[in-house]
């Protein structure tokens, strides 16, 4: 143990320790831009009532992308099968409601628990092997679950989707309405709460150890970080978050499509996160807004083939260099919203 260098004599210059502690505290502080962001989100409830349905989708997508950020942006794990947890969460909440437990928050909790268990169980598979193996295992798991959903039509409704989900009022108080207002407020609140938790977690020593694993797993192990154990944890957490996002979708749209487990969902959420930028938590949220806007514009031209343009966008993005396209915008956004820039 060391002798503290702090002094509290008035008039003396602050010691290095005090300076550093103060700087760390400043870094954790809420930035103005962050408050503006959330204020705008809340304001949109009152100011753009006609768009609540799409705003609800954005909030859900944002949460889904946030969950992937925990995995990719903070721990460096590339997953092409994250939709597995989204889908399982959706089916879980939908089925629970159909079974008679129609209180939404209970459904959320159940979905989170189930996907956390699934995430934990599959994390050991994902940790073994290099990048390619990992990609395959994540894809494989999502594919298996997709097949299962298709085959078990008696449970999931198969290709027709899970229908007839009727939700009770949230916490017994707030009924879902036709305009999506309750839905949006509900999703936004859940997103905000989970965001706060994620913010806290990523600012903790655990979060720091994740960053170290992302940047240099060799060195992380060499300073005593139990790399695999930490990855299992964050994978489980990311799975639970994705499960909640899926549950929200099922509950607010009262339908679960079988494509909720499909590859393009995993690919889309990866793209969303990449557009917004990884490693600072807002990337998924910003990306979700941009993605939905992009989708709206593209679907305006070609409702059926808009994935073509997404493909072109991805190719161009990589060729030009992610840093150059996303970098300029993302860096400014990052500077406003958070101090740390992520490694992509």
């Amino acid at each position: 143990m060391t002798i503290s260098l702090a002094t509290d004599h008035p008039g003396m210059a602050p010691s290095t320790s005090e300076r550093v502690a103060a700087a760390l505290k400043r870094r954790r502080r809420w930035r103005t831009a962050e408050t503006v962001f959330w204020a705008a989100a809340v304001a949109s409830v009152f100011l753009i009532p006609s768009k609540h349905l799409i705003l609800n989708e954005i909030a859900i997508l944002g949460l889904f992308a946030l969950s992937l950020d925990l995995l990719l942006g903070y721990a460096g794990v590339i997953s092409l099968g994250h939709a597995a947890f989204f889908g399982v969460g959706a089916y879980c909440a939908g089925l629970l409601a159909k079974a008679g437990i129609a209180e939404p928050v209970v459904g959320l909790a159940a979905a989170a628990a189930l996907t956390a268990v699934l995430g934990f169980a599959t994390s050991f598979l994902v940790l073994r092997g290099a990048d390619l193996t990992r990609l395959m295992v994540t894809m494989g798991i999502a594919l298996i679950l997709g097949e299962l959903a298709n085959q078990m039509a008696w449970l999931t409704g198969g290709a027709d989707g899970l229908q007839g989900i009727v939700m009770g009022p949230i916490l017994g108080q707030f009924d879902f309405d036709l305009f999506g207002t309750t839905a949006y407020c509900y999703s936004l609140t859940v997103l905000f709460v989970l965001f706060l938790a994620a913010r806290r977690i990523t600012n903790s020593p655990f979060g720091l150890s994740l960053l170290s694993v992302r940047d240099n797993p060799l060195r992380a192990a060499a300073v005593g970080v139990p790399v695999n154990a930490r990855l299992v944890r964050v994978y489980t957490l990311a799975a639970a978050y994705a499960g909640v996002a899926g549950a929200l979708l099922a509950q607010t749209t009262q339908f679960v499509s079988v494509d909720v487990l499909e590859f393009h969902r995993s690919a889309d959420v990866l793209l969303i996160l990449i557009i917004g930028g990884t490693g600072y938590l807002y990337g998924g949220l910003v990306g979700a807004v941009l993605f939905k806007l992009l989708q709206d514009v593209l679907a305006g031209f070609t409702p059926q083939y808009w994935h073509f343009w997404i493909g072109i966008f991805l190719i161009a993005l990589v060729l030009v260099g992610r840093e150059r396209v996303v970098g300029g915008v993302a860096d400014t956004v990052r500077r406003l919203l958070a101090r740390r820039a992520g490694k992509e």
Binding site: L132, M136, G140, I144, F263, L270, F313, V318, L319
Partner: protein, 284 residues
């Protein structure tokens, strides 16, 4: 049961021809090309178009499918892929996903989303008896063609100078360059041939595997399984892996139809659990 085995072997060899290009590309350029299936699809559709628009007989479309897809592969390699060799795996994944999306949507737009039917010539239809086993003629044809291809590929790799240069470049790119081997030419030609083979496989396999715009997405995982399980340091690995996969898939779908597809995925996961570096990977 022997028929099943035979069918499985046919399927497996087809898978090998489809995947070997991916295996060599991954081993050579360390490039994760998820769009490999798009080349197979291109070959399949080339055959369809040649047969329906230009009345080319089926068997004649096969070498054309190979050449057309090889040319496509060459062009894409020189213009796009080449810029991405040094980039991170994430970038490569994003790029190849983008390419798949473009391919799938383009084909859907141009050819429609229905399953394409290949009308096999009468000579290749029906069944024959080989060694007392009643087998499909077309599948025998596939096995024959694929066997010839495998032998030719192995000969090229082991007996020709190009083959030894390729093996050197796969083994250690920098040293190979230092020895004066033109790695760029090797990359381009290997990618072209690999894509061409995939196209040929797509054309050959259209009858068995089906052909529609989502082919690259449906079969992506199969190619990846072959490559991961078989490793990238030789042709034998992916060959054995493809056979195993083909037989397992056919047998699985026959004996346990309800869980047919799971057999493969579960096997893959079990496999990766036990040997994450693949069956035939060299110990590094």
């Amino acid at each position: 049961m022997l028929t099943l085995l035979f069918d499985g072997i046919a399927y497996g060899m087809l898978l090998f021809i489809l995947s070997c290009g991916l295996s060599v590309t991954l081993g050579l350029m360390n490039f994760v090309n998820l769009a490999h299936g798009a080349f197979a699809m291109a070959g399949g559709y080339a055959t369809i178009v040649l047969m329906s628009e230009f009345n080319v007989p089926f068997v004649a479309t096969l070498p054309l499918a190979f050449l057309i897809t090889a040319a496509l592969g060459l062009v894409l390699e020189r213009t796009l892929y080449r810029r991405l060799y040094g980039k991170s795996h994430l970038d490569q994944v994003l790029f190849s996903i983008g390419l798949v999306f473009v391919a799938v949507a383009s084909v859907d737009y141009l050819m429609g989303s229905q399953q394409q039917i290949v009308k096999l010539p009468a000579a290749l239809q029906g069944r024959i008896e080989i060694l007392g086993v009643n087998v499909g003629l077309y599948r025998s044809f596939i096995i024959a063609i694929c066997t010839v291809l495998v032998v030719v590929l192995q000969l090229i790799l082991s007996k020709t100078r190009f083959g030894s240069r390729l093996r050197a470049a796969v083994d250690d790119q920098r040293v190979a360059q230092g020895l004066g081997i033109n790695v760029g030419v090797i990359f381009a030609s290997t990618f072209a041939v690999g894509s061409g083979l995939a196209g040929l496989g797509g054309a050959l396999g259209a009858e068995i595997l089906g052909l529609d715009p989502v082919f690259p997405l449906k079969f992506m995982i199969y190619f990846l399984i072959v490559v991961t399980v078989g490793g990238t340091s030789s042709l034998t690995g992916p060959f054995v892996a493809s056979l195993l996969l083909g037989i397992a898939d056919v047998a699985g779908k026959y004996y346990l139809p309800a869980v047919g597809a799971f057999v493969i995925y579960t096997l893959m996961i079990v496999f990766l659990l036990l040997r994450p570096q693949g069956l035939f990977a060299r110990a590094r």
